[in-house]
């Protein structure tokens, strides 16, 4: 499996080439280079997966954990930071997810970003991002993971702020970076506590090392979860994700649907054996945080008008589903309470595909109508048939309608939740129903109802509007092909026997549909879709307007995301800035800066004072020189 190093090396290489020589390349060459290297990475990832899972299970019924590469990168006394590649079921699964979605995004961007300024830079950043994300998932230890984790943060900062002339994009990139960095601080503290007390950064320390750290392990794991919550946009650290939609849409598909945001989930899954043994309570906190986030994001998603924001909140909600699934695990055995682990990974897999599809579809729509707002859409199904069909498939998948992939993974999550406790199961079922509702609201508002274009055209024809509206058109093939591929995957991914590959303790687990849970969730989803159909099929119906009027307070609160952003602004601007930053700034300016300023001005004064000594007169120099020498000699004589 030594060739796996290429999976990391190729994107890095293409990043370096594109970043250093990109400016000299024509757009076509740069795009082709980036896409080709990603295609190679995808092929290698599939080969890896085939070889890895093809090798079969070991004697203990699990897939062996392989480490084809490991070098001691930074030995720190007894601790050592290693760099390497670790292959186990979840990292191999993540390799497939990342390389697939990234490849789709690369192809799609060829069309979407065509003619954009900074096209080569865009591909360079995409390669960097892919490299860091792949490095993150194959990390052999928590510290390597952290390094790549930060690299992911940087590259996502660069990609969100790609349109750096747009103030909103700059603000969004800064926000994303600062919020995730803030969370990463806790992650780092967690890692350091972990490393200090167990004496290793490895994911699976020896029993003896763990026994010594048992009391502090829950704290370390909890702090790590905070870091994961930052990247995975869990409440209340979710605020960066909706704003991050300022980046190019394919970037949103890559980063904010399929890869970076699931890093937190992946982290918790990676530490799962420790969580379940040493910190089950922390795991349950994860579940409650996730459940609340899921509901919150779903409610907010119901009223947003910017289609990308709807998708962003939907992502938050779905990631929260995965967190919940991990959190509700009560044992490592998939048959007795460890089902959530498998369900979470399964949902991660399917979600990456259909959410990537949704974002790419949204990108195609935005490309066609040049706007993010729903009001500029409507009736697009006639103009963009391929986008329409693929988008519908994705909506059905996320809503949990069989036989699309989302149904299977979500069903497993719900089963795990019901297994944990009945209220939790019911709660998540309702959130799932909400998911179906807001997705179909989005779907109807985009593709059905009155066409904005036709209205404008009518106005133009009647002479009431001076400018002819832009006619929506189907996207080019480079964009539709990835849509079709992802749609196909979303259709069939549910039938993958996922439990055969991944389960909480590595042993084989056969997915079986729990009839009661499945029926409930299907009924819930169908009812939601039905309500959405009534309310939004022909634009905003009278019923919808009535509901909106009666619940204006709730609506506007939800539209403003329940003012969480404002709370953050209040906390940072009013409390932290005033009470902490100001005094520190004062201290810095007056005491530290002031003393240095005084030092500088004092030096200057002294310089003016002694300047005449530098007369340029050789004779006075020699007097000074000899006088000094004599004084030194006298001093030496005196003390000798």
């Amino acid at each position: 499996m030594e060739f796996t190093i290429l999976i990391l090396a190729l994107p890095l290489l293409s990043f370096l080439v594109l970043a250093l020589a990109g400016k000299q390349m024509p757009h076509k060459v740069a795009g082709a280079a980036g896409t080709a290297s990603l295609a190679a990475v995808a092929l290698l990832s599939y080969t890896t997966a085939a070889l890895y899972f093809g090798a079969g299970r070991g004697a203990d019924g699990t897939f062996a954990t392989l480490v084809p590469y490991n070098i001691s990168w930074l030995p720190l006394g007894s601790l050592s930071i290693d760099m390497g590649i670790l292959l186990d079921p979840i990292s191999v699964m993540m390799l497939i997810v990342i390389s697939t979605v990234s490849l789709m995004v690369h192809i799609y961007s060829l069309g979407y970003m065509k003619g954009e300024k900074g096209f080569q830079r865009y591909y360079a950043f995409l390669s960097l991002f892919t490299f860091s994300m792949l490095g993150l998932v194959v990390a052999t230890n928590i510290f390597q993971m952290y390094i790549f984790w930060e690299l992911v943060g940087v590259s996502s900062y660069l990609l969100i702020g790609f349109y750096y002339t747009k103030p909103a994009a700059i603000a969004a990139s800064k926000k994303a970076f600062i919020v995730t960095r803030f969370a990463d601080l806790f992650f780092l503290i967690g890692i350091l506590i972990y490393g200090y007390y167990t004496g290793t950064f490895a994911f699976t320390p020896t029993e003896a090392a763990l026994a010594g750290a048992a009391t502090l392990l829950p704290l370390a794991l909890g702090l790590m979860f905070v870091g994961g919550a930052g990247k995975s946009a869990m409440f209340p650290l979710h605020i960066w994700l909706p704003d991050a939609m300022e980046g190019p849409t394919p970037v949103s598909a890559l980063i904010h649907a399929a890869t970076m945001v699931v890093a937190g989930v992946y982290l918790v899954a990676r530490m799962f054996p420790l969580f379940i043994t040493y910190a089950p309570d922390v795991l349950h906190i994860v579940a409650y945080v996730g459940a609340f986030t899921a509901l919150y994001a779903a409610v907010v998603a119901c009223v947003q008008t910017d289609i990308k924001r709807v998708l962003a909140f939907s992502t938050i909600s779905q990631i929260a589903f995965m967190m919940v699934a991990l959190g509700v695990c009560t044992s490592a055995d998939p048959h007795t309470g460890g089902l959530g682990y498998m369900a979470s990974m399964f949902h991660l897999f399917t979600h990456a595909m259909f959410k990537g599809l949704l974002f790419l579809g949204a990108g195609a729509i935005i490309h066609a109508v040049h706007s993010n707002e729903k009001i500029h859409m409507g009736g697009l199904r006639r103009y963009m048939p391929i986008t329409h069909i693929t988008f519908l498939i994705a909506c059905l998948a996320i809503a949990g309608i069989p036989p699309f992939s989302g149904f299977f993974s979500k069903d497993e999550i719900l089963v795990a939740c019901y297994h944990f406790s009945k209220p939790m199961g019911l709660f998540m079922s309702i959130v799932a129903a909400l998911t179906a509702f807001y997705m179909f609201r989005l779907y109807y508002l985009i593709f059905w109802g009155k066409s904005y274009y036709e209205e404008q055209q009518a106005l133009y024809n009647a002479g009431k509007c001076s400018k002819a509206p832009h006619k929506p058109h189907e996207a080019p093939a480079t964009m539709t092909v990835p849509l079709i591929i992802l749609a196909a995957i979303s259709c069939v991914a549910g039938f993958i026997p996922f439990g055969h590959f991944i389960s909480s303790n590595g042993t084989e687990y056969s997915i079986h549909i729990n009839k009661a849970v499945a029926t409930t969730s299907i009924v819930f989803a169908l009812v939601s879709i039905f309500i959405a159909t009534i309310m939004y099929k022909n634009g905003y119906s009278r019923l919808t307007r009535g509901i909106n009027r009666n619940m204006r307070g709730l609506m506007s609160a939800a539209y403003n995301r329940f003012y969480i952003d404002d709370v953050w602004i209040f906390v940072t601007k009013k409390i932290i800035f005033n009470c902490i930053s100001r005094p520190i700034a004062w201290f810095d300016k007056k005491i530290i800066d002031g003393s240095l300023d005084k030092l500088a001005s004092g030096t200057q004064k002294l310089a003016t004072f002694i300047r005449p000594v530098q007369s340029g007169n050789v004779q006075s120099y020699s007097v000074w020189f000899l006088g000094g020498a004599i004084i030194i000699i006298l001093v030496l004589i005196y003390f000798a």
């Binding site: 340029g616 007169n617 050789v618 004779q619 020699s622 007097v623 000899l626």
Partner: protein, 103 residues
């Protein structure tokens, strides 16, 4: 009688510091050069005296005195060339007038 080494050394020290004094106070380039020659000469005396009194079987001081004389000659030749050039340019060899190289 053998004259003690100290006598020679004191004489050379006196000569040296007379040169130093001249170097500090004179304002004419040629006078400065003359003062420098006095100092160099004092150094040569020291070389010879130390050789004669401390290591008579060796020739280090002796030969370095010769080299010192050679260097003094070379230095004087160049210095006088410079002085003549300066005089040609500014029609003075007074040190106060030599300001062009200062800045």
């Amino acid at each position: 009688m053998i004259i003690p080494a100290q006598y020679f050394l004191i004489l050379s020290a006196v000569l040296f510091f007379i040169g130093v004094f001249g170097f500090f106070t004179r304002r004419n380039l040629v006078s400065l050069l003359i003062s420098t020659e006095l100092m160099l000469n004092a150094v040569d005396i020291n070389f010879a005296v130390f050789n004669a009194y401390c290591h008579p079987q060796l020739l280090e001081g002796y030969i370095f005195a010769i080299f010192g004389i050679g260097i003094a000659a070379a230095e004087t030749a160049v210095a006088i060339a410079i002085i003549i050039n300066v005089y040609r340019n500014i029609h003075s060899i007074h040190i106060k007038r030599l300001r062009d190289l200062k800045h």
